[in-house]
């Protein structure tokens, strides 16, 4: 009898985690370059009351097995790497990637991280940096007398200096690619690092081989779809209620059994 209660408890706890994941997706609906996360549930061990194909003592025909499962658990979470919408911002250092590539960021400890968040700034030294102040590789220094920064779709950074008519090239942004972006590890601040599961990083020119073009004055919004998240939330909430009915029924039945003896 208390097996039902424990089974239902695993269901309750799994659905609660589902809601937590949905809540995190929804709270990041306006986070630039955020990728939604999906839970993966799996069923737990089965107690086999009678193995499949066993022959009943009284009958002769083989019988179906009788198995009682012990509930569910959250087995894994998966990041969904679909493209988010691109939104025009007008800021010349807002960049969006329309494809599968990543910006390459050099952290102060000289390690490399990857991001889809293309909201860059110019720091005190004139370098192009992200929101945390980490440098966009391979490193660009914008001269102080720049009137306009132009970044082409294939990643060339050009500046127009005060009093000049021809723009001056500062170099080209390279984008990183992975065979399996789902294997990247999120380290916070919208940054990801390479792992054995992601495969080795390789670099490509923007616009080549599905890497995606760089769109200046645009940002990639989160790929969280509010309607989908709401539907998931309803599903999770109803599943939670349903599991609570299992608890209730088990409790009622237990009450009846206890009251058998007057």
């Amino acid at each position: 009898m208390d097996k039902t209660l424990r089974t239902a408890a695993t269901g309750l706890s799994a659905q609660q985690k589902y809601v937590e994941i949905i809540a995190n997706n929804i709270s990041n609906v306006n986070t630039t370059g955020f990728k939604k996360v999906r839970p993966e549930f799996q069923d737990l061990l089965y107690e086999t009351l009678r193995p499949a194909g066993a022959v009943s003592r009284v009958g002769v025909e083989p019988l179906n097995e009788v198995q009682i499962g012990s509930g569910t658990e959250l087995a894994a979470t998966t990041k969904i790497w679909s493209q988010g919408d691109v939104q025009q911002t007008g800021n010349p250092l807002d960049l969006a990637i329309n494809g599968e590539g990543f910006f390459v960021i050099r952290k102060p400890d000289n390690s490399i991280a990857f991001t889809r968040d293309g909201s860059f700034h110019i720091d005190r030294l004139g370098q192009i940096v992200n929101a945390q102040g980490y440098i966009l590789e391979p490193g660009f220094t914008i001269p102080a007398d720049t009137v306009e920064v132009q970044i082409s779709r294939d990643g060339y950074v050009e500046v127009l200096l005060d009093g000049e008519t021809e723009p001056q090239s500062l170099g080209q942004i390279e984008l990183a690619r992975f065979i399996n972006p789902a294997g990247l590890r999120a380290v916070g601040d919208n940054l990801y690092v390479e792992t054995p599961a992601s495969g080795r990083v390789f670099f490509e020119t923007p616009g080549q081989n599905n890497t995606g073009e760089i769109l200046q004055r645009y940002l990639e919004t989160s790929n969280v779809d509010i309607v989908e998240e709401m539907v998931n939330m309803i599903t999770a909430q109803r599943a939670y209620e349903l599991n609570s009915k299992s608890v209730r029924t088990a409790d009622d039945i237990l009450g009846v059994a206890v009251n058998l003896k007057r």
């Binding site: 089965y46 009788v66 065979i179 399996n180 299992s246």
Partner: protein, 259 residues
């Protein structure tokens, strides 16, 4: 007189087992590829013969109920993940663990392992016509060398062929056991073949693999709730039989006092 007690108790025990099975179905209403189980009560004569256990030996392995899996399709849900696969039709994916044991599953939430193999979340490998489906390790560890200008593109055809940049790297097989009765469920949405059945490879004329889709649990909320109400009432009815018998017995005993 005491017979009725046992008959009623037997019925009540069956309802308990039903509730346990339903609770597991409900707990897995959001588990991808989950197949609901259902319990039915067996012929009462068989059941009673077992319960009384005429031969006097312990016989725990033969309860008064039977069960079956409902292998009907769950609803298909579009995901945006190219590693998600759903089977449109009957059949199972064939997966293999590290020891080479083969298992069957309908859960198509695959991912790439550290060496480029298609695996489940617990590391079991997806098996194709020529062994595990895998991106060659040279390409996975140094993707630029064979880069042919088409980009990295994993595409899985409805007929099971897996393409990496238009080069076929494997073909997924879909299987069924010759006899579905011999499927035994273990955890994580996997089934194992217990009997002597061979694996039968399915023809892709009738089934399709759909990339970017998942098959949801086929647990049906309404039928689980209805069954739960039904079993609760049957449990209560059983308890009334016992109580009525008890009071009848009580009166019979009381009757004896007058003589």
């Amino acid at each position: 007189m005491l017979k009725e007690f046992f008959t009623a108790a037997l019925g009540m025990q069956n309802q308990q087992t039903r509730l346990e099975v339903i609770a597991n179905n409900i707990a897995n209403s959001n588990t991808v590829g989950f197949k609901r189980a259902n319990v039915f009560e067996r012929n009462l004569i068989d059941a009673r013969a077992n319960f009384y256990n005429v031969k006097g030996d312990v016989e725990q392995n033969d309860p008064a109920i039977g069960s079956y899996y409902d292998f009907s399709n769950g609803a298909f849900q579009k995901t945006d993940n190219p590693m998600d696969l759903a089977i449109d039709g009957e059949g199972f994916f064939l997966v293999e663990d590290q020891e080479g044991k083969q298992l069957l599953t309908r859960n198509g939430e695959f991912r790439l392992s550290e060496d480029g193999t298609f695996v489940r979340n617990d590391g079991k490998m997806l098996i194709g016509e020529e062994g595990p489906i895998k991106i060659s390790s040279e390409f996975f560890s140094n993707p630029t060398i064979t880069q042919d200008g088409k980009g990295i593109n994993l595409r899985i055809a409805q007929t099971g062929e897996v393409f990496l940049n238009d080069a076929q790297i494997g073909k997924i097989v879909l299987v069924v056991p010759e006899d579905k009765v011999e499927l035994q469920r273990i955890s994580n949405g996997e089934f194992i073949i217990t009997g002597i059945s061979d694996i039968k490879y399915l023809d892709f004329d009738q089934v399709k693999v759909r990339q970017g889709w998942l098959e949801n649990s086929n647990v049906d909320v309404v039928s689980e709730m209805v069954q739960m109400i039904e079993l609760q009432r049957m449990f209560e009815a059983g308890s009334k039989v016992i109580q009525t018998n008890d009071s009848t017995l009580d009166r019979s005993i009381a009757l004896g006092r007058y003589f």
